[in-house]
Symmetry: C2
Subunit: 453 residues, 2 copies
């Protein structure tokens, strides 16, 4: 990236750089559509990931293309925006430039008049990065494909194993973390094992798959009302998922997990536990909360840098004494707010009142045709909640034209249990200790940097 | 794999091992459905690849799940068949066992009464394996995803490049080999560049993409009648593809290709030229043709091993003085023939007459809604040929339930040019010389072995 990357054209229009094409960044850019700004949106991927459906890629229900939308396709009718696939690596707030890296052009500064950082979060292993090679997380489409292959591969390995006593360990899936992702994933794996894979195997019985969902805390889905969390717990139990709360994971290795001293043998451990924010706080040398999220002001700007905004999961803001949660709704509302604020400022209109999050509710799917939903005082569970979930998620799909296909896949899976994306990519895996990444993982379990490629 | 892998059950039913879940192997297994055999189907992947549509995965039209069907799902209602994801590495025809390798269980023999080798072909660089890292082929779904990412990545790189003089090299695509795959791919890339990517970019004009299709021979699509080959050539020219025949490729590197002394700068070189057979001939120490395909007898068995059959692309058989081509039709007819032959033998029925290939015709798609077709004396081109192509390929899709979705995607792409699988996996690539595989490629451009993982 060269220094003039986002140079204003001869017309001298103000330059807005938005970093990150997630819910927050994309919404901010859209809100600037009719503004006088020249916008540069930078993301290290070419696609927006519709996170709420990522678990459906991991469980073979949806293809990647329904959940990942090319950012430049989403913004094709917004001519004031250039989309660049590159990686932000730093900010110089005094000189007002972002530092970005591109494999062909190396690292370089890009000047801005306004900067919106929507750099999100990545998987966190709570200081145990050595767990990562054995327990993939679920943050990207690559992750989702890896989880899908890992899940399906275990059945393939078991089927080639004649000794039935060895089948049990191979058919044990452990999920660490019972937030929405862990719960949705556990339930979807249960459906896959009990319904989809039926009559596919001769030596093993996939319906005997043991699925264990672990959580540190006293109950699953801590973000939901207690009654719904209980409903979800019962539903999971009915689907054959063993739920264990107050379960602290001491160790994860190739053989499985150690929970409160007890070893659970498993070839398929999935990490759905924690996140850590992007290094935006370090770039800005700004005040952060304990997790590292940037403490923003009431207009989501960074103290002492009124032209820099941080939105979405990587921002910390309190409302009514509580920290706003890292969910899509907050990200979208914050992105829209900042987009409008900048547009107003450029147009000489008055600034909007301080940001205020309006919570529309919370949902989670628990297996085929079952969801829980809370919105205001409403608590709903079962099929009606699933129908509401389905309509809302269809409406928010990043590419509207995919709706018919996604709906067909959902309904078919609901009725027949069929899952069509069951391709294992990468063929036969050598055992862990013989893989190139094993050596690499041993060499560097170093602290994460901003560049994850 | 242990020695007893395919041990007959106490009932002593004859053991048939089929290696390879492509067109030939899968058809052979299906033809044995009602036989008394116990069948073991071994493949190093979990899915059958519907090769004729692979180029549509590479050009973002179809998701992998529509083109790759889990083998065990295809055979779920065939209880006499065990499917194992493992890799064949050798045969001992005297002791009648196959040698197979599994990452968890290592290498081991598996006894058979009948063996069907349907191990296919892989990409060949005609003795220039050093071209491989710069010019991916198109033989697997992994290849298709890699080609798709390579194609789309070039546009992303160009868009971050300010200097317009550098855009030209980035937007040059070279395809080496003008057989059906090269032609179909070149035309699909042309549609993608001229229609789909429109209004997606601000600095570059994707419709200016230069697409060059090279072939060694005097004309493209040498397998077709000369009139159709000429029609195809004209159509490609109309789509803006530069076709060059008598074009010998001397070199391929990171900067592009050298053709008859002339260097063409290109960041996107694709290899659609040649194939080489699997090492089945070496395993059997059998007579092969110059390419290495096993010379089989009139019943497709291997001389001196009447219980071993070789079918599909890795077999060599002449009919009416001409060698049978390596196409899906031959593979399917041979698979069916051998399946029936074994079933007859097991049932004590007379052997069928010698194998005879019945050529139903030949087709290739050249861009949206245009195909060429020959069958007997019929020669067809344009939309009618495309409609015939579409019906036949829908009918042969490995998973019938995907038909509505595939049809919708075809029609939508025909009408609007939309392509929905435009996700680049793997994020930002470091430059070639910094990638781990670059070092690996340098270290070993050794001859291929049976184990490609």
């Amino acid at each position: 990236m060269s220094a003039s990357e986002a140079q204003p054209s001869a017309d001298g229009r103000p330059r807005v750089i938005v970093v990150g094409g997630g819910f927050a960044g994309l919404t901010a850019v859209k809100a600037l559509r009719d503004s006088a700004a020249r916008i540069l949106l930078i993301d290290r991927r070419n696609h927006h990931v519709f996170q709420p459906l990522l678990y459906q890629v991991a469980t073979a229900l949806l293809p990647s293309g329904d959940v990942g939308a090319p950012i430049r396709e989403v913004l094709r009718h917004q001519p004031n925006t250039v989309v660049a696939m590159a990686e932000a690596t730093g900010v110089d707030p005094e000189r007002r430039h972002l530092v970005a890296w591109h494999p062909d052009r190396g690292e370089g500064p890009i000047p801005y008049d306004y900067l919106v950082l929507a750099t999100g979060v990545e998987q966190s292993y709570f200081g145990h990065d050595e767990f990562a090679p054995f327990a993939p997380g679920l943050k990207s489409l690559e992750d989702a494909q890896a989880v899908r292959s890992k899940l399906l591969r275990a059945y393939e390995t078991a089927e080639t194993e004649e000794d039935p006593s060895k089948h049990r360990d191979l058919l044990t899936v452990v999920l660490v973390g019972a937030g929405p992702t862990g719960v949705e994933l556990a339930a979807a794996i249960a459906s896959m094992a009990r319904v989809t894979l039926k009559s596919n195997f001769r030596r093993i019985d996939p319906s005997a798959t043991r699925i264990i969902l672990l959580d540190n805390g006293p109950r699953i889905l801590a973000g939901f009302a207690e009654t719904l969390s209980r409903t979800a717990h019962e539903r999971l139990t009915k689907l054959g998922v063993e739920v264990r709360t107050h379960a602290h994971v001491d160790d994860v290795d190739e053989q499985g997990v150690v929970v409160a001293g007890e070893r659970i043998a498993s070839r398929t451990v999935l990490w759905t536990a924690g996140v850590r924010p992007s290094p935006a706080g370090q770039w800005l040398k700004a005040d952060t909360d304990r997790a590292g999220r940037v403490a923003v002001g009431p207009d989501l700007s960074v103290p002492r840098s009124p032209e820099v905004f941080v939105v979405g999961d990587t921002a910390h803001l309190e409302q009514d004494g509580k920290s706003l949660p890292g969910v899509a709704q907050v990200a979208m509302q914050q992105g829209r707010y900042v987009g409008r604020l900048i547009a107003n400022r450029l147009a000489g209109r008055p600034a909007p009142p301080p940001f205020r999050y309006s919570d529309r509710g919370n949902m989670a799917v628990i297996g085929r045709g079952f969801a829980i939903l809370e919105s205001g005082k409403v608590r709903l569970s079962g099929f009606p909640a699933w129908a509401a979930w389905a309509s809302i998620h269809l409406a928010y799909l990043p590419q509207a034209r995919n709706r018919p296909e996604v709906l067909i896949r959902w309904l078919r899976s609901y009725v027949t249990g069929e899952l069509d994306s069951r391709v294992i990519l990468g063929g036969l895996h050598p055992p862990y200790e013989k893989r190139p990444e094993a050596a690499a993982a041993k060499a560097s379990t170093a602290a994460p940097t901003g560049r994850q490629g």
